[in-house]
Structures are given as C-alpha cells and as structure tokens.
C-alpha cells in the first residue's frame, strides 16, 4: 500500500497550467458578466478541522523573534543596496518576517510589500546619487524573485482579497513608475533608472490578466455614491497638490494632474452612462476613474515620502548620503549565518503543515 500511496501522492501534483487556468477563468468571467447574477447567494463547502498542533514549534520561532531584537537587525531596517547592513535587512530581517507570516495570504501580501520596498530603495538611491550598476542589478534580481514568489502564492490562494491586492499593487507600480520617470526627465545621470521602468512595465503586464477580473466597485454599490467618493478623493488630492513650486514638484504635479484628468474624464463618461441606465459600462468607467485617482494619490504619497535634499542647480543632484558605519562586520556575518540556520529548520517544520 505504501507504493500505491506514493504513486497517488505524485499524481496529486498534476494541475492546470497557468495559461489554461487563465483561459478558463476569462471564459468564466465572460459568462458571469453576461448573465444576471442573483443579489445574494449562499454557498458552503465541506469544513475541515483545525489542528492545534500547527504551532507546536513556537519555541524555535521565539528564537527568531529574539534574533529580530538584535540592535544590528533594527539598524538594518533603513539600509540601502551598497550599505554594509543591507545584507542583514534582506538576508535576516525580511526572511524572518516572511517565515513569521503564517498564512499563504500573509506571505503573498508580504511579497507585495517587498516589491514596493525595493522600488523605494531605487528611488532613494537615485535621489542621493548612489544608484550604480551593481545596486541596480541587485535590486532587479530581488524584485524578480519577490514577484515570482508573489505570483506563486497568488495562484495558490482562494481569496478575492488577493485580486484586490493585485489591483492595488498595479496602482502602486504605476505611481512609482511616474515618480521614476519624473526623476529621469528632470535630472542628469539617471540612465540606470530606465531598467526600473522596464521591470515595472513587465510586472504590470503580468498583473493585468489578474486585476481586470475584479474591480474596486462592487456590483451592489450605488453608483451615485461611487461618483461622490471619487469626486471627493480627487478634490482632496488637488488641495494637497496646489502650492508646491519646486522644480521636481512641477514635473510630479504634471503627472498627478494627468492622472486626475484621466479620472475626471472617466467619471464624466461613467456618470452619463449611469444616468442613462447603462450600469454595467458605467461601473467599468467608474472603476477606471477610481484607479486613476488612486494612482494620483499614490504618486503624491511617494513624492512626499522621498527623503530628497537636493541642490537644484543645473538639474544636478549633489548631496550624497552618508553610508552606515558598522563596527563589527564579523559579528554581523555570524548573525546572518545563525539566523539562516534557524530559519531553514523552522521552514522544514512548517512546510509539511502547509504554512
């Protein structure tokens, strides 16, 4: 029976290819959108018992938490590629946080955060004159790795919030792209940032098939309320934007205004269709309007969050960031190795439990 079980176990690995799954999903979405769905529906499936033995290896996790409390680990949180503590940030801190994300959904959201963190690092490096080929390659590799993991978790998840997170990530990526484009256009020696744009565009194309299935506007929402929500959001963004006069802000303001115009146009068209009773198409336009408004909001947020101190003279960035000093690099190396070992042991324990 053992041999049979082994063969059955191998058989369980068979699954739909991603393209086939996507194709079937698209056909289903088409069917769903062309049919009248009931307002409410009750669906239940088999329940399963929760095992309280899942967390029996907590002591090992406590060790990881203690590792997180090391001063070096905390200091590493703000490190950038090229800094001595960057290895601790990505090799220790982020690894521990990932292991401590117990559910697949938490791990999925964690990878999304990591992608955004890498883009922040791109922007920080560029605005402090530290973005070189080496750090660019390092960031690209890390982003690709996080995206592959995120994509894997996405297909394993059975959660509509995963679709929403994809839509939000799409908006965040668009916002980062706008800021980076602003940096390229406005300052010299920003050629290394072009690869970041290409990478973002590649991720966007992979996200699109997922995000187009679910929008921000629920089918049960009153579209007039949605219109008001979008109008309020865009008004608030305009208020925040007005009065910012620096050279960098001018370029960013242009991008924000571009997104707001796109949002307003879709809002006007959606409103007209809603008044005519064409609610399906109105909903799609309002979704598009809301996303454009969110992109504008995100661009503003990124811009305000960037720690930019520049001498705006002939478009050159002249201030350089001080590198972090590390007193005991040997100890740092030891910490990374020890935490690596513990993380691997804990992962071996958690993997069979499906965590």
């Amino acid at each position: 029976m053992y041999l049979l079980r082994r063969k059955f176990k191998q058989a369980k690995r068979i699954q739909l290819t991603n393209p086939a799954k996507e194709r079937i999903r698209e056909n289903l979405v088409h069917l769903i959108r062309t049919s009248q769905a009931p307002r409410s529906v009750k669906i239940s499936s088999f329940s399963f018992s929760y095992s309280f033995t899942k967390y029996k290896h907590l002591p090992a996790l406590v060790v990881l938490l203690i590792a997180l409390s090391f001063t070096t680990a905390f200091a590493a949180e703000k490190a950038l590629p090229g800094d001595a503590l960057y290895g601790v940030k990505t090799g220790v801190n982020e690894k521990i946080k990932e292991v401590l994300s117990f559910s697949k959904e938490a791990k999925y959201r964690f990878q999304v955060k990591i992608i955004e963190e890498r883009l922040w690092e791109y922007e920080q490096l560029a605005t402090t004159g530290q973005l070189n080929k080496e750090s660019q390659v390092s960031l690209e590799t890390l982003i690709n790795l996080s995206f592959a993991r995120m994509d894997n978790y996405f297909y394993q998840l059975a959660s509509s919030s995963a679709y929403s997170t994809q839509a939000q990530l799409y908006n965040k990526l668009s916002a980062h792209k706008s800021v980076i484009q602003g940096l390229i256009e406005n300052f010299e020696n920003m050629e290394n940032l072009s690869s970041a744009i290409s990478q973002i565009q590649l991720i966007e194309t992979k996200l699109k098939p997922a995000i187009k299935l679910l929008g921000e506007v629920k089918s049960s929402e009153d579209l007039s309320e949605v219109e008001k929500r979008i109008q309020d959001k865009t008004s608030k963004i305009r208020e925040n934007v007005s009065g910012k006069n620096t050279q960098l802000y001018t370029k960013v303001i242009e991008q924000i205004n571009g997104q707001l115009e796109e949002s307003q146009k879709a809002l006007r068209e959606g409103s007209i269709l809603n008044q005519k009773g064409n609610t399906d198409n109105a909903r799609e336009l309002l979704e598009s309007s809301e996303r454009a408004a969110e992109r504008a909001e995100k661009i503003l947020e990124i811009q305000e969050g960037l720690d930019i101190k520049m001498h705006i003279e002939k478009g050159q960035i002249t201030e350089k960031k001080q590198k972090n000093e590390v007193e005991n690099p040997d100890i740092q190396e030891e910490i990374i190795e020890k935490v690596d070992e513990v993380v691997e042991e804990v992962q071996e324990v958690l993997n069979p439990l499906g965590i």
């Binding site: 068979i14 056909n27 529906v41 499936s45 059975a158 679709y163």
Partner: protein, 165 residues
Amino acid sequence: MRNPEEKFLVIYEKHSDAIFRHCYFRVSSKELAENLTQETFMRAWKYLLEKEEIKNMKALLYRIAGNLVIDYYRKKKESSLENMTEAGFQIASNEDKEMKTATEIRGLMDKLDELEPKYSEVLIMRFIDDMRPREIAKVLDLKVNVVSVRIHRGVEKLKYIYVSS
C-alpha cells in the same frame, strides 16, 4: 461582503486544479480534461443562477464533472497517455524529478484504466482528490459503507494489477 461573482471566482481558484485532476485521471486527455473543467464550472454557475443557494459546492462540482465524464464515455473513450508529455503539461515538481514522475503517473493511469469505472472513480476521489468516504458518498449519492467497500476492493484490485504486471 463578497458578491456572488467574486465568491464564484474564489471557488474556481480553490477547486479548478482538483477538478482538472479528477477529469484528467478519468479521461486521460489534457485538452479534454481542460474542456471538462471549464464546462463543469460553467454549469455550476448556471445552476447557481437557478437555485441561489448551494449547500455543498464541492460536491456539486464533482457531481457535474462526474456526469460530464460519463457523457464522454458514452460517446467515445480515448486512451492517450502520450498526452502526458506534450508541451505545456505542468507537474508541480522540480525539474530533476519530472521525467520519473511523469512515467510513474502514466503507469498509474494505465492501471486505473484497467479497473471498472466504479472502482477507479472512488480511488481517484479518495487518493488523488483527497476526499473522505462521506464526501464521496454525497457526490455519488451512495451510502458511506458502499463507498468504503468500493475503496477497499478497488485498492485490492489495483494492487493485484500492479503485482501481476
């Protein structure tokens, strides 16, 4: 609160691989299994539109898939194990083990094919779809005891087929 469309797509994400696997082991053709998987979910959606309440979605999906397989058997049965290795077929394993895994799985399908459908069906549900006997009983509309007996006899027959080959 999720709307019906979202709920259904979540269900699709959750069960599509399992339904595909189930169909694949019953019909031995990747393309056909994909078509049957799609048809299963489409019919489930249409059923949902009519009834507005489904107490057991998983059971419904397997029941629809099972009926589609039976319909297929009535028309035509193909045994195309060569489809296992055609481009695009995905086994969730690392590349080093893929060839060995594909061979073993092909062997298993071959042996399951030699069983009577009433046995291969329950074995697939029990050991590949990981369904418990009472879940299988609900899908097939049988008593739990009947399912347990079929599983037991199916395993014995499968062992015999392996030994005698």
